[in-house]
């Protein structure tokens, strides 16, 4: 009776609000992270602001964790969320690296 182990999980009534708030914040914080990163790179902000950017990424990851656990996501979705968090972390690096390369090649 291994199949019986799949328990039917329900979202608790009180958990809906934290779920909606945390999942909205995932992208808000994520956007702030990427935004600050870019702003520092194009010199709109001083370099020390970069640590704030990473702080926002941590908040993003935390919100993803809260959201995922309150929703009782399965193993697969949990992994997908981790991939998304890492993807978001790497995204601005990749974008900036590529943009920079092209600018270097074309303007010097």
């Amino acid at each position: 009776m291994i199949d019986q182990a799949i328990v039917h999980t329900e979202i608790a009534l009180d958990d809906f609000l934290p779920i909606f708030v945390s999942s909205a914040l995932v992208l808000v914080f994520g956007g702030v992270y990427v935004g600050i990163y870019t702003a520092v790179k194009v010199k709109f902000l001083k370099p020390w602001a970069m640590s704030i950017a990473y702080l926002f990424w941590l908040l993003t990851a935390y919100c993803l964790y809260v959201m995922g656990s309150l929703m009782h996501v399965g193993d697969f979705t949990a992994k997908a969320l981790v991939v998304a968090a890492i993807g978001l972390f790497l995204l601005p690096f990749a974008v900036y690296y590529m943009q920079h390369q092209v600018h270097e090649e074309n303007e010097h």
């Binding site: 909606f20 999942s23 969320l81």
Partner: protein
């Protein structure tokens, strides 16, 4: 427009498209207001113009005005990109009038005939009754002919002239755009099969081909408005295409959770939905980055002047990057995973997401293109912000944001009362609709909708009076 600075017939045609698009935009808002009033006062126009009809007109006007503005945008940028006049422009102009006439007929039938008996004649001549693509079957075929002519114009011009990266992306994108419409043109008794293919049109249009279209237009806009480097912008466009199609095509999975389709779509939908915001974040960064770089390069030359040649258009383009991220990204993501979508599917949450996403991702950039067209038509070197343009953009975006927040609150009430507690029955539905939070939210939605509409009037005024306004540099 008497004193016209346009030498290209393609651009001339583009202005026709933009004009009709703007009229339909107004109609969309007007019928949206009717529907919003009906939520607050259910007796309003009952039996004359019922909610269903107001809503059909609201959402179809939305889709059609966007398609018109998209076609207009392409006709506008083709001469700039390819360096030649659009091939087959005469047919393009003829088809424009065919398209307009067909739409007028469809709208009149929706308004005055509304419904028909349950037979094929109704499906062919009155309504197909499938949300967003209610247009009767004869009009479907008309749309196919119109779209094919448009695609032919685009392809012939692209192949004859200089085929830039932007034009190449548009060519590929528009053929997918036209082809996908065919997926919505058949009848089946099986509602699950019906919904399966219906999403091919709705999702693959809105979350794949339209998004890529926006990427291409944004690329063109960045080059024309702030003089961004073409090679950078075009390379970035290809990356966006890869990201958008890579996540968007299988992102379809999030519509296949509950329509009778197998459970494996839960995993597919969850995975690709989690990835879908990434290109939106990236698009946002890209605009910021290019702006910073171009302005920075000018600053190095000792030039502190703004690099922006069209202030209102640029405002709308920035709003697009932001709105796409907020509407499609944030508002999409928080109800996309199956565990929570089970409760939010088919509530006002979807409607909140729909309002902000359509506005943020598409309306903004298309209005931006209208400003670019107004600038070109009147031969203006630097188009500045005016009082009306600032008020218009603030009222429209503030109004839409207000509606979105109100609908989100309404959706939250529905999720708690109608879904989680009472299990989605008829009684549960109306209990949810009667709560104080819900009815209050609907009042606010109407207020915010009215503000949006007033903002639109200012926008129309600003676009129409730009030609005579002396503040712009010529």
């Amino acid at each position: 427009m008497a004193n016209n600075h346009l030498t290209s017939e393609s651009k001339q045609l583009a202005t026709w498209y933009f004009t009709f698009a703007a009229i339909l935009f107004g109609a969309q808002l007007l019928f949206g207001l009717v529907a919003a009033i009906q939520y607050v006062m259910p007796g309003f126009l009952y039996g004359l113009l019922d909610f269903s009809i107001a809503r059909i007109l609201h959402i179809n006007a939305l889709v059609v005005w966007m398609v018109f503005a998209m076609f207009g945008s392409v006709y506008w940028l083709l001469p700039d990109e390819t360096g030649i006049e659009t091939v087959g422009i005469k047919i393009g102009k003829l088809i424009y009038w065919v398209f307009v006439a067909a739409i007028v007929v469809v709208v009149l039938v929706f308004l005055f005939i509304q419904v028909g008996p349950a037979d094929d004649t109704t499906i062919w001549f009155i309504t197909e009754g499938r949300e967003y693509i209610e247009a009767p079957r004869w009009a479907d075929w008309g749309i196919v002919v119109v779209a094919l002519t448009f695609v032919a114009n685009l392809f012939l011009t692209g192949m004859k002239g200089n085929r830039s990266g932007i034009v190449t992306v548009l060519m590929a994108d528009m053929i997918a755009f036209a082809g996908l419409y065919l997926a919505g043109m058949f009848f089946t008794d099986n509602i699950s099969v019906d919904q399966y293919w219906w999403w091919w049109v709705i999702h693959l249009w809105v979350e794949a081909t339209w998004e890529v279209f926006v990427g291409a237009i944004a690329a063109y806009g960045l080059i024309t408005m702030i003089g961004a480097h073409r090679k950078v912008v075009e390379m970035w466009l290809w990356i966006e295409v890869a990201m958008l199609f890579g996540s968007g095509i299988l992102g379809m999975g999030h519509h296949y959770f509950w329509i009778g389709t197998p459970e494996y779509w839960w995993e597919i939908g969850a995975l690709f939905s989690a990835l879908e915001p990434l290109p939106l974040v990236a698009m946002f960064v890209h605009v910021l980055y290019d702006w910073g770089k171009t302005q920075g390069a000018e600053a190095e030359k000792g030039n502190t002047r703004s690099v922006i040649k069209n202030k209102p258009a640029f405002t709308w383009f920035v709003l697009n990057a932001f709105g796409n991220f907020l509407g499609a990204g944030v508002w999409g993501f928080f109800h996309t995973l199956p565990q929570v979508n089970l409760y939010t599917h088919g509530t006002q949450f979807t409607s909140a997401h729909g309002h902000l996403a359509f506005f943020g991702a598409y309306a903004t950039i298309l209005v931006g293109m209208m400003y670019i067209a107004v600038q070109g038509t009147n031969g203006i070197k630097v188009l500045k912000n005016t009082k009306a343009s600032i008020w218009a953009v603030s009222m429209i975006s503030g109004g839409v944001m207000g509606m979105t927040v109100a609908l989100t609150i309404a959706g939250y009430v529905q999720v708690l009362v109608s879904r989680a507690q009472m299990g989605a029955t008829w009684a549960a539905y109306f209990d949810g609709q009667s709560g104080a939070w819900f009815t209050q939210a609907m009042d606010w939605r109407l207020i915010m909708g009215t503000i949006t509409f007033l903002g639109f009037i200012l926008l129309a005024k600003d676009l129409l009076t730009t030609g005579k306004n002396p503040v712009h540099e010529r």
